[in-house]
Subunit: 392 residues, 2 copies
């Protein structure tokens, strides 16, 4: 009787064709695991990536963008503890050396190795430690190593984040790290998705971009864009099943939504998970702009921390946008109670129960039929503490 049932496996090694491992390189002062490897044994090695839009990009992002431009990834090396961001040409050299080292250990080309880093900004990577950690990880690569890899990319995450979804004859797995963009200089979101479906680079790219657009890119915990954000999708083709592009897009979107929810609920310092639904908008862009303006408004976020259904602050946030609406036609509900109709007070605010962690804000713009959802957290003493008490 086998102790390992592949049908129950979650994470990056759930699909066939992938091995992974986690190891301790000593980059983190805590001595926790801080290096992960994900290897695609094929037969295919198609891949797609989505990266931070921050113009100050960390060295591993600059490297991996080049790798992904060719559409082939045979291995991903990830480290936590140091982001290798704002480190200049020397930092890029460190990333290059890491890719070369991984390639040599695995007998592949360095141009097929993607690199991800997360942790302190502005300090050089301890490369010797990292390369030794890579050696350790390479020796323990296994078909069940996904969990160890997910552990090794944690920074202030209180738990590892993994997912598994089943397609029509193939499997999608994944892992992510990130404390909802709320952590101290450790805000980076990293995500690696794997599938044993057969899919070319274009299909993977389209699926991943659409999935990110409506999930990770609508999680706006504190409005701060990291220098290192990276989302990768790797296909091994080991199932022999060609993915239907529409089904694959749905599956990747569901996986990203699941992981985004895990990030948000683990956001450091947060006491509320806030879902902002903007409806009756003229366009989806309008709906997203309004949702994001509310999500980023510190006065709204502190009010939610204080269990205060302060719809006036929500209206003031909406008023900063260029979305199509008339102020005297705005309706706002918090947790189902329409406390604002036509831009003025409506149902009794005392009826709004904000005692739980989940908060739902609904805004009707009265300008059309488009809609979008944006997710955020509250702004708390825990956030200020996390981000002021730790020096980098």
């Amino acid at each position: 009787m086998s102790t390992h049932d592949e049908r129950l496996e979650v994470g990056v090694t759930a699909p066939a064709g992938f091995r992974a491992a986690g190891a301790t390189a000593g980059i983190k002062p805590s001595g926790a695991p801080d290096v992960a490897l994900v290897v695609n044994d094929g037969p295919d090695a198609t891949a797609a990536g989505v990266f931070t839009r921050n113009r100050v990009k960390a060295a591993p992002v600059l490297w991996s963008e080049r790798v992904l431009a060719a559409g082939i990834v045979k291995a991903v090396v990830l480290n936590s503890g140091n982001a290798n961001a704002c480190t200049g040409k020397a930092g890029f050299g460190d990333t290059h050396a890491t890719a070369e080292h991984v390639a040599a250990r695995l007998g592949i080309g360095p141009a097929d190795v993607a690199v991800c880093s997360t942790g302190l900004i502005g300090e050089r990577l301890p490369v010797d430690k990292l390369l030794a950690g890579v050696d350790t990880a390479a020796k323990s690569l296994s078909r069940t190593g996904g969990g160890a890899a997910a552990e090794a990319i944690r920074t202030t995450d209180t738990r590892a984040k993994q997912v598994r979804l089943d397609g029509d004859g193939y499997v999608l797995g994944g892992m992510a790290k990130g404390a909802g963009m709320l952590a101290p200089a450790l805000a980076t979101m990293l995500c690696v998705l794997t599938t044993d479906a057969v899919a070319d680079t274009d299909v993977l790219g389209d699926a991943l971009r659409e999935a990110c657009r409506v999930t990770f890119e609508r999680v706006d915990s504190d409005g701060c864009l990291s220098t290192n954000d990276t989302v990768l999708l790797l296909a091994s083709g080991a199932s022999g099943v060609s993915a239907d592009p529409a089904e694959l897009t749905d599956l990747v979107t569901a996986a990203c939504a699941d992981l985004a929810g895990q990030l948000l609920s683990d956001a450091e310092g947060a006491t509320k998970d806030v879902t902002i639904e903007v409806v009756d908008a003229a366009t989806e862009d309008d709906a997203v702009e309004v949702g994001r303006a509310i999500a980023r408004n510190n006065l709204v976020k502190t009010a939610l921390f204080g269990n205060d259904p302060n719809w006036g602050r929500i209206l003031a946030a909406i008023g900063t946008t260029e979305a199509r609406f008339r102020p005297d036609e705005l309706d706002v509900a918090i947790n189902g109670v329409w406390i604002c109709r036509g831009g003025a007070a409506a149902d009794d605010r005392a009826g709004v129960d904000l005692s739980g962690r989940a908060v739902s804000i609904t805004v009707r713009l009265g300008a059309g039929s488009a809609a979008a959802t944006v997710w955020t957290n509250d702004l708390t003493h825990g956030y200020v503490h996390e981000n002021s008490a730790y020096s980098t």
Copy 2:
């Protein structure tokens, strides 16, 4: 011997031709003064105004925009304790009634009465109380009432803010309220400037817009745009001296800068006054965009609260802008120490002394010769407390 020396007077009654008063109407539960009147006795009554760009405008803003469109203001009535924002058509009616009442008491037309309100959002004004307070204030109008008026417009301000500057044969006075956009739902900035110079509406408007552009509009304490922000400039012409437009612009700018500094240093919850100077920019707009991105970045603001010279977060904030720069050419100094050169670590961060309240951040974009300065505060436990603990 007179006990009143006009040469020492500060505030809105410093220039000739103005009377003012403060009174207690009972709008504030605390029983503190909450109604102010400023009256221009002429001979002129030219005026200009700058208002919030928030599209959700409070009723007094909608009213006063119409009044200022005609360029004549003979009186300003201001109340604290209630912002009359998000109150719909009924709220506009309350503002209209207030202007009518002031006009009747003073024997002027309601279309020459500007109205300003600050305080709670989303609740109707207690109009009966306000009108009774107006009667009290009207009875105590005096040439030395500027200080009482400045007191009466305070909300969470710990002190009244006034200014006086002398031009070539005329005087400029002013008062402001606002706790640096940091107060709980009471973020409104109100400012009334007065002068006894002779100046037509166009000259006043040009001077006020230019002054606001480089002062109040570059104070960005928490990025939240109020529904009620109003800055007014009234000229009585009582000195008989025609103001040179350039000198008047300089004087108004200096007065606004002085008041902006007073607002910032009184920002509730703040422990740092932060000056962000962006130099070597391709354009002034680029410099402002970069300064604002830094000023609004919660990770930068919490780092400053923690006395952490975290230049990596500053670079990440710069990277979110569309300003012209190359990441590997960015230099950053904090309190005079160039801790980042060429986008990477430079001088020792241990040399940065952040123990004081004043913090100076200098960013060199290396893209031209334009510059701009933006002012902000840190993000603190006090901010979260102020904005979460008080329910509106």
